[in-house]
């Protein structure tokens, strides 16, 4: 009986493989887009049962390391790859593909507030520098005429772990504040002069929920899922814009992508643009030696850039503007 079962299974397996050679793609990297990628790969597998994709959300740094070491077929990173990192890849060149994007929001815990708090461009960098320490600071009160700001100390919450979210958030702060650029500057992990650190988005969210008066930066999708209050921020054009998929996409549309498709949107222009947005990239080789892998990655990337984009808003990501999609598709077609 047992033998029979094994035999049938073996037969089934061999029949399947006879129909189409199954391909397994291994990938790892950024945790930020991992929920979207997970959804993509599950949907794609339903359409193409012969392609199986294993994605491990281990963090951008690990994604780059494993891709460089040849452990994965493609990597994923919120900070793309630096020229130095690209030079370290020995087997051929690297193609960077922006596949989706997201916004970073300032979430806060202020009980009894009737509308989202508005934070001007000179205020929120000052909060993260520890220069504005009270919620009823005259600058915050002036920007929120309809709200009664409480007399609460501001507690800053940041990511304690090294993260692409910190990288993009501090890049933005450094772009709009000379003080922030001078110190602490920007990077995946910086020394904030004030505040407490939480591990991961969930750690920061827990800090915010716990203590009234706390403000911290988290990804839009995460804040949306966990119903955190999100501040309305003043953009480069001087307008206050709430974080939504539309205001995020508007910001992305302002960006002129260079040929290597590596552009950090540190301070987007445009009246309707939300100020803190970021692309997130796939890291692919220009050439693949394993048969079928290049075609599988190209088909997958093209599907993600077209059909895949419609999954983005529901999960809190930004659909790529059409102009960006065209450019990325051109880059996909160069993979051999």
């Amino acid at each position: 009986m047992k033998n029979l079962l094994v035999l049938t299974l073996a037969l089934a397996v061999s029949l399947c493989s006879a129909q189409a050679a199954p391909i397994t793609l291994n990938a790892s990297g950024a945790t930020f887009p991992a929920p979207l990628y997970g959804r993509w790969f599950a949907e794609y597998n339903k359409l193409h049962p012969d392609v199986q994709i294993n994605y491990q959300g281990l963090g951008s740094g690990t994604g780059i390391k494993q891709f460089t070491g040849g452990l994965t077929d493609f990597g994923a990173s919120d900070a793309a790859m630096s020229d130095k990192e690209i030079a370290a890849v020995t087997n051929g060149g690297v193609v960077l593909l922006p596949m989706t994007a997201g916004s970073i929001v300032l979430s806060y815990n202020l009980p009894g507030l009737t509308a989202p708090v508005q934070l001007p461009r000179d205020v929120y960098p000052a909060i993260f520098l520890g220069k504005i320490t009270k919620w009823n600071d005259p600058k915050i009160v002036a920007a929120n005429p309809g709200l009664t700001m409480p007399d609460l100390p501001i507690t800053v919450a940041y990511r304690a772990d090294s993260s692409g979210t910190t990288f993009n958030f501090t890049n933005h702060l450094a772009a709009i504040s000379a003080d922030f650029k001078a110190s602490p500057g920007s990077g995946k992990m910086v020394k904030f002069p004030v505040g407490v650190g939480g591990k991961g988005n969930d750690g920061v969210a827990a800090l915010i929920k716990q203590t009234p008066g706390t403000i911290g930066y988290v990804e839009f999708g995460y804040a949306m899922k966990t119903n955190l209050a999100m501040a309305t921020l003043q953009n480069a054009a001087g307008k206050f814009v709430a974080p939504t998929p539309d205001s995020g996409s508007a910001a992305l549309a302002q960006v002129a992508l260079p040929d290597n498709l590596r552009a950090f949107v540190t301070d987007p222009s445009g009246d309707t643009s939300y100020p803190i947005v970021t692309f997130t990239w796939w890291l692919c080789h220009t050439q693949y030696t394993k048969p079928g892998v290049a075609d599988a990655i190209k088909a997958l990337a093209n599907w993600g850039l077209t059909d895949g984009q419609k999954f983005a808003p529901d999960l809190g990501y930004l659909p790529l503007p059409a102009s960006v999609v065209t450019k990325v598709q051109a880059a996909v077609s160069t993979i051999k």
Binding site: G61, T155, A160, S162, K188, M189, K191, V196, A206, Q210
Partner: protein, 325 residues
Amino acid sequence: MQTETAPLSEATTQWIGNKRAQRSKSFDLVFSWSTFIASWGTVALLAWIALEVGYAALPAVRECGFGFLIGTDWDPTDDVYGALPLIYGTMVSSALALFIATPLGVAIAIFLTEDYLHPKIRSIFKFLVELLAAIPSVIYGLWGIYVIIPITTPLGNWLNTHFGWFPLFSTPSSGPGFLPAAFVLSIMILPTIAALSGSALKTTPQALKEGASALGATRWDVILQISLPIAASGIFGAAVLGLGRAMGETMALAMLVGNNNQISASLFAPANTIASLLANSFGEATGLEIAALMYLSFILMALTLGINAVAEFILERTGASTRHF
């Protein structure tokens, strides 16, 4: 239907005896060799880990040298590494935990060794205290976030507004910080301290206690003047071993200590510890940062090894060794 079994001849008995002796001899040999290999293997493994960590730390040792120990900045963006706030955070959070856990642990040990309870109930208590050691670190962390921090935060803010001039209360509470971290840590090291202090207290000769009682000493006198002085160095060893454990604790601290690389005298200020920084940064570290993290690991390893060795030495001398087997 009785059948008589013929007695074995003398030669046969001897032959069986020899065979058995030979077999047990070779068995003995295999057994003693495998225990030898297992125990020396453990020692070799420890040496190997230390070498490997030290080797990986070399670039940072070359780059930062001893300045690493007194530097106060930890900035991977500019490749500037200083470990002082982390060493300070590790030592202070562990010392605070010890400060809370030692009196509690010794009290538990006295309660469980000085015949207050029926032996059956005593074993239940003992089991429950030891069970504290079986709770995963991350559960302690969650408990700290959702139960302890909401208690320590208003307490800290109250102390700060009324006694802010006192250095220990000089900052308002920001949620996570030294106090909640040390409190949770103290519960985590409580079983170690209680169990080892208990075995130290048990070494008090019964005759001495009975003699004191016979001379009119109350139970209070016996505990304070006979049991505790005799067990003192054992209890000290237990506390030092608890300290060693507290210093290496990672997950609960990463969740509770606030992860801010600063040196502040205030109990309510966020801080950071070596183990917590390692857990937070390792995944994304590159280049010199990896070496710097390895250097930190090496320091932590040296500190805990040193402390454990001191504790073991003290316990050894008092006979209340940790080697229960």
